[in-house]
């Protein structure tokens, strides 16, 4: 009797978990397929107003393309020390702390209409999003956030520079 009731409970647990998981996957299908293709985040077609306030997310493949063709300026939101250790090759350093202090941060030699991609330490780090917002406020028109950041870039085997100490 007891064994039978345990078996029933195990069945119920399996059904509950399976059904919830299936529902969750179906519910988040677009997000998951984006993540699978390594193109993080939503907001596929932001309205003008959204684009004004929040930087658009961009995936590692597109970042690589823009990086290689020199069409974008990459900006490292991490501390100066982390930047010196390692950063995406060709990226500029603008630590969020410093940008916050300046209120309207300016990037030397970068036009206001240039494509700017902010990044930091991947998903655990929200500094790039904050920095992106500040840059938009400062008048830069086309700001993106590379949420995978340095870890995803490095994992993909793309070039970095710095002392790596």
């Amino acid at each position: 009797m007891a064994e039978k009731s345990w078996r029933k409970t195990l069945w119920e647990i399996a059904v509950i978990v399976f059904a919830s998981a299936l529902f969750g996957i179906l519910w988040n299908r677009p997000l998951l397929s984006d993540a699978w293709r390594s193109a993080p985040a939503v907001q596929a077609a932001p309205t003008a107003q959204q684009a004004e306030a929040v930087p658009m997310p961009i995936g590692v493949a597109q970042v690589k393309e823009l990086h290689d063709s020199g069409q974008a300026v990459l900006v490292d939101a991490r501390s100066a020390a982390s930047y010196i250790k390692e950063h995406i090759a060709g990226a500029l350093s603008l630590p969020l702390e410093e940008a916050t202090r300046q209120q309207a941060p300016q990037l030397k030699g970068v036009a206001k209409d240039a494509v700017i991609i902010a990044y930091c330490n991947g998903f655990s780090c929200h500094d790039s999003m904050q920095l992106g917002k500040l840059l938009i406020k400062a008048g830069y028109g086309s700001v993106y956030v590379f949420e995978g950041g340095l870890p995803e870039w490095r994992d993909a085997g793309y070039p970095t520079s710095g002392g790596k100490q």
Binding site: I13, I16, V17, S20, L32, W36, S124
Partner: protein, 142 residues
Amino acid sequence: MTPLRATMIPLALRVALGAVFIYAAIPKIVDPVAFAGSVAAYQILPYFWSYLTAAVLPFVELACGVLLVCGVRVRSGALIIGALNLVFMAALTSAIIRGLDIDCGCFRQDGPKTSPWLALVRDAFFLAMTAAVLRYEGLRTR
């Protein structure tokens, strides 16, 4: 104990535990990207799996919470909740050991950070509630 109290306490425990899990699930369902960020912050799961967890976990929490509140399949629901609590506590412990300064991502995904220590204590409390619910359920259905 009076019979009334004997039935009220288990009921209150069960509904409270269920409500906590429903309350925890909703912000995660509303903003799965933010929750995926919280999961990734633990640096345990690889990239895609953080998203998969963020997609699936809130719905498991919601389902178990609803079952407990409604008093349907209580033993199964409570066992899943207990298992989830153990997983959360293991993740939090590993975050503390590695010295990660992260938000636990347990309930709201924005707002002030909840330290892993506080979250660990809270989860231990929920685990105790789960054990009590399971015990009462066992007595009731014996």
